[in-house]
Amino acid sequence: MDGLPEGTILGPIEMVEVYETYDAPVLFACRSRLVDARYLALWVDRDDREDTWLYLPATARRFAEIRSGGIALADAFRNSESGLVVSVRVVRASGAATASTVNAAEVPDSDLPSPSVRLALPTATESSAVPPIAEFSREARTHGMDLTFDLRGARRTEAPAAVIGNILRAVQSLADSVGQAMQGLATERGPVPESVLSRTRLSVCTVFGGSFGVRFRTAADLDMFPDPFPGEVLCRIVSILGSADDQTKLLQYLVPLRIRAITSYRRLLQFLQAAESGVTAVVAGPEGDVLLRGRLDRGSATSALRVVSDFENREPVVHDVVCILVGMHVYTKRFVVETTEDPAVTYSGLMSASVLEAEPKPRLNATYRATIAESEDFNGVTGESRMQYTLLSLSAL
């Protein structure tokens, strides 16, 4: 006997390493002597006669995450991979032990470590599971980018899907608009040319702890077509992020990229703010070198959003187009026009009071010069954003 329970459903076990001690181990790792099974054991209670322990079964990968601090201890127990933990009661006088499985979700908070407590031991298995970005980029012959978010309240290597989904979409959109501008093809709206997208398309290839990290790689095949451009786009994004809330630097990077990239970045900032998160970014190239690092902390994200929003508001987007009035409704105050250019662009939205009150009344299917103001309606909860158009004036041609 090694002070460990015998004759229970855990089978014969042996101590691997001790993490916390109070006169005797109170948190330690052990493993089965018979099968490939590991447990994290935690002293949770005592009474006059017995001690109670919780044994958390964990795979090697999960164990590495726990050991390295990727998962808070309480979350590790609460979110046991099997959904179960083993409760072991040991009679102190005799060492006799009994064990039973318990639904992990039903373990009371009082039987778990405080939420913020986590181990933080160097753990080789974790680094091999997720190689450093430089190593990854070299081996994959790609440009890679790690974005690590410090989501407020996150205590494990998990993040709400909706939050991360919004952020991922915003990052891709930013890459597209930055790439478009860097190729001198900036537009305010509409599809981004495939010639741009083929070089800015990103893939998510892994997630990692941190509180939550996402690794991107560029989708371009560098073996077939060596191309530094995707890396340049990623570096520009990291430069923008790294400018934090420094207004001069931020606008220096953003303004040349035109309004679409500015809007894309503003959207990313809004998602970060909604998630109460900052972000750390690292870009590496196919030669295995780290190209750039940048950090936007939570507070700076909010300030940066203000800077970018102010800039957008200072220069409202107004379209002056030749178009055909294809629909209008005086009661709902809505309009639809279609430009005469090829391909035609359709705008729809609300008519201003001056258009509604104008005499003579506009005629359907007539050609006009229209002034249309563009604004964006962003829903921070759903993450959806929608362009809104207001018809400011119509002049018959």
């Binding site: 002070g3 006169d23 005797a24 470590p113």
Partner: protein
């Protein structure tokens, strides 16, 4: 109870301690240490070693089982308490005590014990450790070798 001397001729330890216990690497203490206790003021029951409390349960190193867990920083004791639910329930108070060479020997056992800042204190015979400690607020601590 018979006793044997260790390190210092002036300090003796219970004969129940194994040979070479306290170990040769331990030092006479001259510092403030922190320990989790269950009552205010601390009681003798808060300072009972594993070897005495559970003589039939050879948990780990038999010499360390004869010592008491203490920390040089209050924060480390607090962290331990927040880690173990049992300690939160049964040893929820942090007590500080100034221990001196004649109170025994101390050794940094954070490597073997795992806990950050964990030290083991082997209490010299005749010392009533609970009388050295008081429940405290937040204070810092240093432990130097006694001269």
């Amino acid at each position: 109870m018979s006793s044997h001397a260790s390190q210092s001729d002036r300090v003796s330890y219970p004969a129940s301690f194994p040979t070479d216990c306290p170990p040769s690497a331990s030092t006479p203490p001259n510092c403030r240490v922190y320990r989790l206790v269950g009552s205010d003021p601390p009681r003798g029951d808060d300072f009972v070693s594993q070897a005495v409390r559970y003589p039939g349960s050879p948990h780990g190193d038999p010499c360390e089982a004869c010592g008491l867990s203490v920390f040089l920083e209050e924060a480390h004791a607090v962290r331990l308490r927040e880690t173990s639910p049992a300690l939160r329930k049964w040893r929820h108070l942090v007590a500080a005590g100034d221990i001196e060479p004649h109170h025994g020997a101390i050794l940094d056992t954070s490597a073997s014990g795992g806990s950050v800042g964990h030290h083991t204190w082997w209490v010299a015979e005749g010392v009533r450790p609970h009388e050295l400690f008081v429940v405290v607020g937040t204070v810092g601590g240093q432990c130097g070798r006694a001269t």
